[in-house]
Amino acid sequence: MSPGGHGIAAARAGASGALEARLRVAREGFALAADFSASPGVTALLGPNGAGKSTVVAALAGLLPLSGGRVVADGRVWEDVSAGVRLPPRERRVGVAFQEPRLLPALTALDNVAYGPRARGIARPEARRRAADWLERLDAGHLASRRPAGLSGGEAQRVALARALAADADVLLLDEPLSAQDVEARAASRRALAESLSAFEGVALIVTHDPVEALTLAGRVAVIEAGRVVQQGDAEALRRRPASPWVAALAGVNLLRGRLEAAEGEVVLACEGLRLAVLPGDLAPGAEAAAVVSPRAITLSIDPPRSSARNVIAGAVASVDPGIDRIRVTLDTRPPLTAEITRESLAGLGIAPGTRLYAAVKVTEIELFPA
């Protein structure tokens, strides 16, 4: 590392590094009144579509003037409406990956990623070297010479992520960073992103509507609904004391949709490749239904269990995602089933991608809704 690099690191360590935001934006038919803070590390801004997440990104980046409030990053005032302070976007040192990639069409992927360093005065060869490095880290090295028009949505999104990360920013704003990745690429992309973010020293804000993404990438979550931040905390706080039904509903459950069928005196929910015994309540066979299964209600074992659980499903491990205090293990069943287990269980069972397991679910743990 160069002496200059040490200097920057030292300056960051000296300041708090935190982002404090009090955002007031009034637009026709929509009001944003979001207060939250984020310390260095990864924070997720989680909310349903239309909650104002992208407005938060635009406001923090300086692309949308606040009508009130202030933004302070690493002790530096970016915007303060009452004091009349408003730094333009280029003076904020943000790295933004917008929800749509916004790559510059006339430039190759490599030059798009090199754009930030170039704009900050770094010579072209060095800027391109850094850009190539970032593309490589996000599994997009082979795209370097391509132009945006020739990239798929997922590829363009990875290039846009590399561009945000290469900007040498104090604050990273990543708006739905994995939304365009197809299902097969998603786990790999999430891992690459998580690795890239673990080396990042500033504040990274990941904006998402997907609680799994929020909980697997971020240590802390701020939940935004209808323009307001309704809850901030870690995953456990969200699960234990959800501040709204939306938080409660999305704190990491399996949702299975299918049709009820009568079979050998019991009622099963047929959902793609799975047949789950359920308690139908007042739902009759033939009805469309949705089952909600908490990942914590699923028991994993190496051998077929001899237990009271009537649902035993065999499958291979598709992915292992580290959560905050628990591990989320997803099986390659159709649809995939996710179970949460402790680190000790993970180690004890020797679970790795590809391990063949049995998942057991008690009928009484399945909540059934008409769909």
Partner: protein
């Protein structure tokens, strides 16, 4: 709805109406005397002046049109529509009226005549007047195409560049200018051909002095009274120049590489 037969027939008549004069030019031109008719001092000087004046008019036009198009496309102010109307008026104005207007503005006894006289500048009946006349009638094409081009740009790309630390100048150079390339090419081709063909405003404001203000169209007009064959050949040459300019743009010479 597909056009019925009689509409197709009328379209054929229209095609003939547009094509016949062009066919006439080529068919009636005395091709045997190309050398003697076109390799004259008068034609050479007229052609050189036309090339120079049209190119200068496009350059001057760009300097005037780009700021104007930018303001029209990206700002809202009362009277914006009136300003746009004013700017495009020279496109539909009879060229001779444009020439008289230029005389009343920049002529000896015009609005700015006294001021220009005081600094020792006299514009009418000079090569500068040729360029000004050509600019006046052709620059509106640049304003119109550039404004449309600017309005069609995705401003979110400019936002993205700004968040990456780009200065306004860098955003202009790396985002706006590349995005404007197609409209720029179309506007330049239109303006250049319009400037090349300019007649009425030029003869009124700049006169018809061989070697100084006689452009190719003026030379065609003069030759028509003495040597109709040479006038026809020179007309074909002008037609070819315009054709090349239009094909260059339409044919994708300036298109974005995929």
């Amino acid at each position: 709805m597909r056009p019925p037969f009689f509409v197709v027939a009328l379209a054929a008549v229209a095609t003939a109406f547009f094509a016949l004069p062009l066919i006439g030019l080529v068919a009636e031109a005395p091709w045997g005397s190309v050398g003697s008719a076109l390799l004259t001092r008068q034609v050479a000087r007229a052609a050189a002046l036309s090339a120079l004046a049209s190119t200068a008019a496009v350059g001057l036009g760009l300097a005037l049109a780009l700021p104007l198009a930018w303001v029209l496309a990206r700002t809202r102010f009362p009277g914006r529509r009136w300003l746009r109307g004013l700017v495009v008026l020279p496109m539909v104005l009879p060229p001779v009226v444009a020439g008289v207007g230029l005389l009343t503005a920049f002529g000896r006894r015009g609005l700015l005549g006294g001021t220009l006289d005081a600094i020792g500048v006299s514009i009418p009946f000079t090569t500068a007047a040729v360029v000004i006349a050509a600019t006046f009638v052709s620059a509106p094409f640049l304003v119109v195409t550039l404004e449309a081009g600017l309005a069609g740009l995705d401003r979110r790309l400019e936002d993205a560049a700004a968040t990456l630390g780009a200065s306004d100048a860098r955003v202009f150079r790396t985002v706006i200018l590349p995005g404007l390339r197609p409209s720029l090419a179309a506007g330049v081709a239109l303006a250049w051909t319009r400037a090349l063909g300019e007649f009425g405003a030029t003869i009124t404001f700049a006169g018809n002095l061989q070697g100084r203000t006689q452009t190719t169209p003026l030379a065609v007009y003069e030759l028509l009274q003495t040597d109709a064959g040479a006038a026809t050949l020179l007309s074909v040459a002008l037609l070819a120049a315009c054709l090349v300019a239009v094909v260059a743009v339409r044919g994708g010479l300036f298109r974005e590489p995929e």
